[in-house]
């Protein structure tokens, strides 16, 4: 626990330092440029294994287009900071970077602002949720690059089979606690940050609710949503299913808890899988399975979708080459290489089904495929970050007993509707 905190703190300090350094470098780079000859810049994660990989792939691309060198513009890995930098650049109509790595939740915002080019859709191999997140008002604005997906980890030594429903999960977890086989039932990310929203959305889908209906109206205060939040609140405040400390937990806290054998279930991303499998660090190595988050009555099984897409800067001077680069980077060959070297899941369904992926990734691919296929895109809206902030605040208040679940969601819905009105994005009256 303390180790986890120390590591996140260190990571945060390092992130802050590097992002400051990167910002300076980026500004200097911009000041220094102005060369007239055609060239392409790519911006995205470029540290460590990802950095080596992207440079190698860009070199290969440069051989296809020998007259156009491609440069990497390094941007901070922390999502908020990269987002802020992109928004500043694109507001200033900077022509670079030409190709941008965008978080799955930014596409609608950038598309609505007119900062990225609409693309021709000609490929339906991508996971539906990833494609849904790449569209804005029916048009495609980005190409899925890699996906991340919420998984429910379960202990194969404590249970004979994975839970068939959320009620089953709760019952078997509480039984394991009662019989002394585990200290904690389910651990999830309960701190007030984006991770909490993904956990809430999985519960929401499990109970049959949604943030928007098909006409774009806010439905986050529906009875299904209230049931979902009430379930989460009771899990942490009265049932003892989720430890109270989870109110301050992010991914790594939950992993440490599950890895030390304390918990029966954990909601987390695929990155935890290889770490849990290491017998020298993990008390549960070889005793873990994954499934999508199970359904409650009236809902369906679900998984939150993460990951990144590639999009093209509206002000680029080289739209054709930029499109060629996007196609090149999202081609099966490059995706497989990315899975092998950086452990990132391909956004193409065919790669899961062909079996070549199994050599590159040490993940239970059939289960992961089921989860990505069941995944729901997070609400696709230009005001996602405000919407997320509002949900974070009210869900966290409900979980810490400051608001009743129905009041919390009613208030969140009111804030979101006001926001849609203010920004002119509210759906037209019927």
């Amino acid at each position: 626990m303390r180790e986890a905190v120390a590591s996140t703190v260190e990571a945060r300090a390092a992130r802050a330092f590097f992002s400051a350094a990167f910002a300076v470098v980026a500004i200097l780079a911009q000041v220094g440029c102005g060369a007239p000859e055609p060239r392409l810049t790519f911006s995205g994660s470029a540290v460590g294994a990802e950095g080596d990989l992207i440079r190698r792939q860009l070199d290969r691309f440069a051989r296809l287009y020998p007259n156009i060198p491609v440069e990497v513009r390094v941007t901070p890995d922390a999502a908020d900071q990269r987002h802020q930098l992109y928004v500043q650049w694109l507001n200033a109509r900077a022509a670079e970077p030409d190709v941008l790595q965008l978080d799955v939740i930014w596409i609608a915002e950038f598309a609505a602002a007119g900062w990225i080019l609409p693309l021709e859709a000609d490929d339906d191999d991508f996971f539906p949720a990833a494609l849904a997140a790449s569209r804005w008002q029916g048009r495609l604005f980005a190409v899925p690059w890699f996906v991340d997906v919420g998984l429910l980890y379960w202990r194969t030594d404590l249970l004979s089979a994975p839970p068939s429903s959320l009620a089953d999960l709760r019952a078997s977890a509480l039984e394991a606690i009662r019989s002394g086989r585990a200290e904690q039932g389910l651990v999830w990310q309960g701190a007030r940050y984006e991770g909490l929203v993904t956990v809430f959305l999985e519960h929401l889908t499990a109970f049959g609710g949604a943030v928007f209906d098909h006409r774009g109206r806010i439905t986050v205060d529906s009875p299904e949503a209230v049931r979902a939040l009430t379930f989460m609140r009771d899990s942490i405040r009265s049932d003892g299913l989720v430890p109270a400390a989870a109110l301050a937990w992010q991914e790594e806290h939950t992993r440490f808890s599950f890895q030390s054998g304390r918990a029966v279930f954990m909601r987390n991303w695929p990155y935890a899988w290889p770490l849990l499998a290491r017998a020298d660090q993990s008390a549960v190595a070889g005793r873990v399975g994954v499934i999508p988050f199970p359904a409650a009555e009236g809902g369906r099984q679900s998984a939150a979708l993460g990951g990144a897409q590639l999009a093209i800067n509206r002000y680029t001077g080289e739209p054709e080459v930029a499109r060629a680069l996007v196609d090149f980077l999202t081609a099966p060959e490059q995706m497989l290489e990315r899975a092998r070297e950086a452990g990132q899941l391909p956004a193409r369904r065919s790669l899961f089904l062909e079996g070549t992926l199994a050599e590159s990734l040490s993940l239970p691919l059939p289960e992961v495929y089921r989860a990505v296929d069941a995944a729901v895109a997070r609400p696709v809206t230009p005001i996602y970050s405000e919407l997320s902030d509002s949900l974070q605040v009210h869900v966290h208040r409900a979980l810490s007993g400051q608001e009743r679940p129905d009041d919390a969601l009613r208030e969140a819905a009111r804030e979101m509707r006001a926001l849609l009105d203010r920004t002119g994005l509210a759906p037209a009256a019927p």
Partner: protein, 289 residues
């Protein structure tokens, strides 16, 4: 006639001599302030460029005043100042008296007392978070889990961090008090408590007002402790006004509205600054009489 022209010449000279100082004040205070006010009068949302940047007058300020999250952030900020500043004054006075009366190893004692003040606030906040997290885990208390209890670590860290500054300011006041007064009081048979009550505290009033003013101004712009220790949570229970303004400005990138919130913080600080200057004037006048 001649005296008037001399006066005018002197006035001109005075302005000339003050010019560099005025220029600096203008450059570092008024220009940014004016720019923020200008920003606050516009709708400027970096992420919603299709809305443009129209002049909307006081609409942002009106929204800030009626925003429930802003309102509760304001009352929490005021409450924090009302609770933490008196504690810091009390502890600071005690520490100042100790530092004043220590005779051996005086330099060492003063340096030791000042160390918390020398530590960067973010580092201090991290250390205090570890302390509360680990002791809480052992004792089974979740210090950061409840809306009210989560303030305790913040207030403790703030008191620990700023008491030395208060002590330093009060120590300067203590040293300005004439020792002869204490000799006379002792001659008349006044005990230490009586001396504190009738000599030290009344004569220390100006220093106390200055320290209280500084601390209140500081407390009203509370940011780094909750940012590091609680992130404003649970919910928004420990979110002060400046942290909310930061979220609006730097995360939502709503420059207009964020600037309006900043102007509110500025107005608040201005009121406190004026009040403490007035109070200081009255206190020192009373002393002279």
């Amino acid at each position: 006639m001649r005296t008037a022209s001399v006066m005018r010449a002197e006035t001109r000279l005075a302005f000339l001599l003050m010019a560099p100082a005025l220029l600096i004040v203008f450059g570092i205070a008024l220009i940014p302030l004016g720019a923020t006010a200008w920003e606050a009068a516009h709708q400027h949302d970096l992420r919603l460029p299709w809305l443009g940047e129209p002049l909307i007058g006081f609409r942002n300020v009106a929204e800030a005043v009626t925003d429930p999250r802003g309102g509760s952030a304001l009352s929490r900020t005021l409450l924090f100042a009302a609770v933490s500043v008196p504690i810091e004054l009390a502890f600071g006075l005690a520490l100042a008296l100790v530092m004043h009366h220590v005779t051996r190893g005086r330099a060492l004692a003063r340096a030791a007392a000042l160390t918390p003040f020398a530590l960067p606030t973010v580092v201090a906040a991290l250390v205090w978070r570890f302390i509360f997290e680990s002791t809480g885990a052992r004792a089974g208390i979740d210090w950061f889990g409840g809306p009210l209890i989560a303030w305790l670590p913040i207030v403790v860290a703030d008191v620990w961090k700023t008491t030395p500054l208060v002590a330093l300011m009060l120590l300067a006041g203590l040293q300005a008090i004439d020792e002869g007064l204490y000799d006379a009081a002792r001659m008349d048979g006044a005990g230490p408590l009586r001396q504190l009550w009738t000599i030290t505290l009344p004569l220390l009033q100006p220093a106390i007002v200055v320290a209280a003013g500084f601390r209140t101004l500081d407390a009203l712009r509370l940011f780094d402790l909750p940012y590091v220790m609680t992130g404003g949570g649970p919910g928004t229970a420990t979110e002060p006004l400046s942290l909310y303004a930061f979220t609006v400005l730097m995360q939502r990138l709503r420059f207009g509205y964020g600037s309006a919130l900043s102007m509110l913080i500025f107005a608040l600080a201005l009121v406190v600054a004026f009040a403490s200057v007035r109070l200081l004037g009255r206190v020192s006048q009373g002393e002279r009489r």
